[in-house]
Structure formats: C-alpha cells, structure tokens
C-alpha cells in the first residue's frame, strides 16, 4: 500500500470531489459515514476495489479507479490482460467492483463487475418517460438536482432546483418542501 501524507490525501479528495459527478459512489453513505469506511477497509484486504472508473487505456492496458471515501479517497491504477473479465464495465464514470491480484510491482485486474446503485428502503426508481409525463402534466412535486451547483447551472431538468449533497447535509429540511407527503424526486449525473 502507498503511504499517504495528509497533503497528498487532501489533493486526492479534492480531485475526486471535483471529478466525480455520478451517483453510485455515494450509495453506501446515506448518513452512516463510519460503516462504509470499515466495509471499504475490509474489501481492500480481499483485493477488491470498489468505486467509479476514472479511465481505461486499451493501449497501455490499464484501468484507473477511484477508491475509498472522504479522507481515504484516492485513484489507483491497475493493469489488465486478455484474461481480465468484464472489461466492458470499465467505462469512465461507471461504478465498478474490480477484483485484483499483485504480480511483482503491479496490480492486475482479474474481473470487473458493475456496481449497481442501491436505493434506500421505501424509495423507488423513476424512469425517464414517466418523469417526462409527470413534468408535462405539471404534477405537483419537488424535483431536486443533486449534482454540484456548477453542473446544475449549465444544464438542468425543467422546474428542478439545485440541492447538492453537502447542502442537504448542512441545511437539512429547511431546503426541502414543508409537506413531507409531497412527491420528492432526486436526480444526478447518471447511474455511476
């Protein structure tokens, strides 16, 4: 393992927070910060990396993946070969689970599997056509864009409001509708 100084870690966190706009890297962190960290440590012992794919090079035969959360987040690069399975899931921005082994100085990816987003209990997914119908029919609802504000500013769904994750964590219900029975829909930058 590479030992990290606090400054390096801060850089890594900045990098990850600036570059990650997807959903799934946050799926385990619904308010319980300690559990995923422990789970992550456990996973790493078993030679498994879980997180969003930062990039893949077919010429260099490498996959870069962002691993860990918060203070532990960093980008790791692995090599792959013809025996690596599931390379189609190693697409930039997709959340993936990579199992790997150490060969000499290099980490080799054995398999890449997609990491599917888990919804909190009682929360259901809505697909694009149904959402379009709800918006077109002017259905009373609060539509929330969970991406960073800069992404919202550039392009957002009609009638949506910007509440990034950190803002909701800080301001809680004050930024949400008073009526807790009102339909509340969240979206971000895709499945990843």
């Amino acid at each position: 393992m590479i030992k990290q100084t606090p400054i390096k870690m801060l850089l890594a966190i900045l990098l990850v927070s600036l570059l990650s706009y997807g959903c799934a890297q946050d799926t385990t962190s619904s308010g319980q910060q300690s559990k995923p960290a422990a789970a992550q440590a456990q996973k790493q012992k078993e030679n498994v990396f879980t997180g969003p794919i930062v990039g893949k090079s077919n010429k260099a035969k490498t996959i870069s993946i962002s691993v860990g959360k918060g203070d532990d987040a960093k980008t790791v690069m692995l090599r792959f070969d013809d025996k690596t399975t599931g390379l189609e899931h190693a697409e930039k921005g997709e959340a993936a689970i990579i199992s790997w082994e150490q060969r000499g100085d290099d980490k080799f990816a054995l398999s890449v599997k997609p990491k599917l987003a888990k919804l909190p209990e009682g929360v259901s997914e809505i697909k694009v056509d149904e959402l379009y119908q709800l918006i077109s029919a002017k259905t009373p609802m609060t539509l929330v864009d969970a991406r960073p504000e800069s992404r919202f500013a550039q392009a957002h769904l009609p009638g949506s409001m910007s509440i990034p994750v950190d803002e909701l964590q800080e301001k809680k219900a004050t930024v949400l509708p008073e009526d807790k029975n009102k339909l509340l829909i969240f979206y971000c930058g895709g499945y990843t």
Partner: protein
C-alpha cells in the same frame, strides 16, 4: 449523489421519495430539453444564440447573444466548436426545440435553453442589450480544465525553454518507434509509471502527454497521488496546433 440525498430526505421524514437514477444524461439522450440558469447565461463560457427572426435582437437581446435564425444556424454550424456549451433562446418554443435537436444531432455535447425564452429572461429580471449588432463572429475558447497544461507552455518545455519541467511521453514504446518523440521528453509508458515513479525528479514540475490526452490524464493522477507537481496535455498531438519539435525515428 441522488441516492445519498434520497437517504437523507428519508431520515428527515419525507415519505414520498423517488430517484431518477438514469439522471440528466438519460433525460438529454431521450431528446428532452435542459435549461441553463440565469447566472450561467450571463457569465458562463458559452456560445449564446438568439434564434428570433425579424431583427428583434437589435431592439433588445440577452448580452453577448449572437443573432442567428434557425436557417442561419444551419449554415453556420461548423463555426461553433462542438465542445462549446451552447445556450439557445427564441420567442417561440418550436424554433428553440428544433435547434436543440439539430445541434444535439450534429454532436454538440452541451446544449441548453433559457427558461421561458427571451420573455422568461426579461421576466426573471435579466438585463438586456440594445442597439445595432456589428458582427456575428463566433469566438469561443476552451478554458483549461483541472490539471491541464496549455499547449503554449507545453511547447516551451519541449523546446527546452523551461528548465524546471520534466516532460513524460506516456505512449507505448511501439508508438514512439513508429512516430518519434518530442525533444526534451522521456518515454515512460502509462502502465510503467506506478512502478517507475521514484525515478522522477522531485524538484521539477512534470508535464505528461500521450496521443490525445486520455492516458496523460490517467498518468497525471498517478503522479498527483505520489505528491508530484504534475500537469497533462489534453490535445491530439497530430493536430497542427501542437507544433512541438519532434525527433523522428531513424
């Protein structure tokens, strides 16, 4: 992010929550319109197009807007860089949706609309610019992203003008044997960078390039992880714009 927010909202007692997991990319892909916020229309690094006909832009327009009717836009489409974020408005929904579809079909990566078109802008307190328009030239320059080095600075390094910079070519040995290597540059293929990172000088800035910038970006992240002051070149090095001195293979 959306699932995190859904989890937080659930804890706060909300009980009618749904998540649009496919998110904004799926919405745009399905052909539905997306909107720019007013601050972005005002200050963003965008190409803003006023699609209204009949010279209405002269009477009043959103500042910085270029007046191009739908027909003119079709003629001028190659004047707009495909990676430029384009924002459109008109005075009727049909024109603006047609233009949105046209630009997306043409491969524009980010096309968004002003909510409520010109009237929506005015009604929401947006300022307007009045008077004659002397040029419809489209000027747009991409701003460097995080970790990117400018072509000009990179070229200086390969010319040997920047003594505090160490330049890495992250392409394979085979590519270099075929295509040559820039002057004042060391070849370390991307896959070898993690294990050879200790060979690099600690007291120099490091610029990385490859053929297009994709591998250089990944190499840059490895270098940053290891505490180096690194930047990468996001450019197709075969483009005339690159113009760096090459040592050709013998």
């Amino acid at each position: 992010m959306s699932t995190t927010n859904a989890g937080l909202a659930k804890k706060l007692g909300y009980n009618n929550i749904r998540v649009f997991l496919a998110g904004e990319p799926a919405w745009s892909k399905a052909g539905y319109p997306v909107y720019a916020s007013n601050g972005y229309v005002k200050n963003g690094n965008i190409v803003l197009i006023d699609l209204r006909t009949g010279g209405k832009a002269v009477d009043a327009r959103i500042p910085r807007a270029i007046p191009l009717t739908y027909e003119q836009l079709e003629d001028r489409i190659d004047d707009i860089p495909r990676n430029a974020p384009v924002v459109l408005y008109s005075d009727n929904e049909e024109d603006v949706l047609d233009a949105l579809e046209e630009l997306r079909d043409e491969g524009f990566k980010s096309v968004s609309l002003v909510f409520g078109n010109f009237k929506g802008w005015v009604d929401s307190g947006g300022t307007v610019q009045k008077g004659p328009i002397f040029t419809t030239e489209i000027k747009w320059e991409r701003k460097l992203g995080k970790g990117e080095v400018s072509v000009a600075e990179f070229r200086k390094a390969t010319n040997g003008e920047l003594k505090d910079v160490y330049v890495i070519d992250a392409r394979t040995k085979e590519e270099i044997a075929e295509l040559g290597i820039f002057k004042n540059t060391v070849n370390i293929p991307l896959d070898e960078i993690p294990k050879r990172v200790n060979e690099l000088p600690k007291d120099k800035r490091i610029f990385v390039h490859c053929s297009t910038g994709a591998r250089a970006d990944l190499a840059y992240r490895v270098l940053i992880e290891n505490g180096y002051d690194a930047k990468f070149l996001l450019l197709d090095i075969s483009a005339p714009e690159c113009d760096c001195p090459i040592i050709m293979p013998k």
